[in-house]
Symmetry: C2
């Protein structure tokens, strides 16, 4: 796959046949900013690859730094061992925003924001880059966490394989708003509309082994109350 | 792949090399009941397949009836056109239950419940089975919805391709509970614990074209207030 060489962080991501939204193309987008927003709001990405002719899809946490998506894990991970050989990978992140209840069963749907990324991953070898990726994982779970924690020691750094996937070729697909029924169905006396869904953080549960004189810090309080 | 022939709906799902949880195997399970629970609670499944040597992962809604997972869409869908040829498919559903904040950056994690299914899909041809699958989609979005809606007409039925994936070979992976730090890190004075995450339905938003004398029905009220 040859990507456009100039201006690699362009506003619009590259898309080819494989990454073009075909079903309901008006819902498709290649806007970098939208793709970053969706990535930054999700928690889990779904990594698809082929090993021995068999497709696999594995859920995993991730981090983003500018135009790179990072995934990580044990060097013994089947997924990471396969990906580090440079095989094609396809990664999806989806946020579910609402249940779309139409008058007809046929037009029921979900409101969602989704992205699919294509490319090949490479191992992050430089310690500085690896630490930046690990900071991104930590701060992706909850903002400002990294600075509060014990940083990785040499043993942990060695025991963590970090892969980088460039955000070159990707597409977003977004559905928003009310159900869209067939024109003649609008007179059917059935409630139709949207039930919004949001992910809500609950009260923080302290580790049972936490010393009682350690209180919930600002970065956790802020997250829960936002 | 040869599955055990007897007792196809056994309590434990079949698992082979590809479907065995290898990383942190104590988090793995092949319990049918757990796998059904996770499927029934999720909204989106991630369908992975290979087309022209390229892995794809596509998010899509789904329904379950007993030991079958149904996906559906337009007969023009790239995914459905590929899957109906009987190629291998791998499907993942993940629920994120919490943010796990450890004392060390290294031990940060998510609490989650995840399943990965392997198999091949077949087209649902019989009208009765197809209607049962479409009912499952509708009632999976929100329970008891199907009975309230206009059922599919012959044109819609013809325009919907439904594929069935048997729940024969699958694994679950679950992480629950507090962070697990290295023993010597427990004395670090950093707050550690879990922030639970739940998906919360908001107030139903009526379709702008809804007649003002149609009120929110019980199945929507119940869902939102539960």
């Amino acid at each position: 796959m040859n990507y456009p060489e100039k201006n690699p962080i362009s506003q619009q991501l590259f898309h080819s046949k494989r990454s073009t939204v075909k079903r309901v193309p008006k819902r498709g987008s290649y806007e970098r900013e939208l793709i970053y927003q969706i990535l930054d709001e999700g928690f889990i990405c779904y990594v698809s690859f082929v090993a021995d002719g068999q497709p696999f899809v594995i859920p995993t946490a991730y981090g983003r730094v500018e135009d790179k998506l990072y995934i990580h894990g044990s060097p013994a991970s089947r997924m990471l061992r396969a990906l580090q050989t440079g095989i094609e990978v396809c990664v999806c992140v989806t946020l579910v925003d609402g249940l779309v209840l139409a008058r007809s069963a046929f037009h029921h749907s979900l409101n969602y924001r989704s992205i699919v990324i294509f490319g090949t991953a490479t191992i992050v070898k430089e310690e500085e880059d690896k630490l930046a990726a690990l900071k991104a994982f930590c701060d992706h779970i909850i903002p400002d966490r990294w600075q509060a924690t014990r940083p990785p020691n040499p043993h942990e750094l060695k025991g963590t394989l970090v892969l980088s996937l460039p955000l070159n070729e990707a597409s977003a697909k977004v559905r928003t708003g009310a159900p869209i029924d067939d024109e003649k169905d609008y007179e059917i006396p059935v409630w139709a509309g949207v039930i919004p869904l949001t992910i809500t953080p609950g009260e923080p549960i302290s580790d049972p082994r936490l010393s009682p004189d350690i209180s919930v810090p600002a970065h956790v309080r802020d997250y829960v109350s936002k």
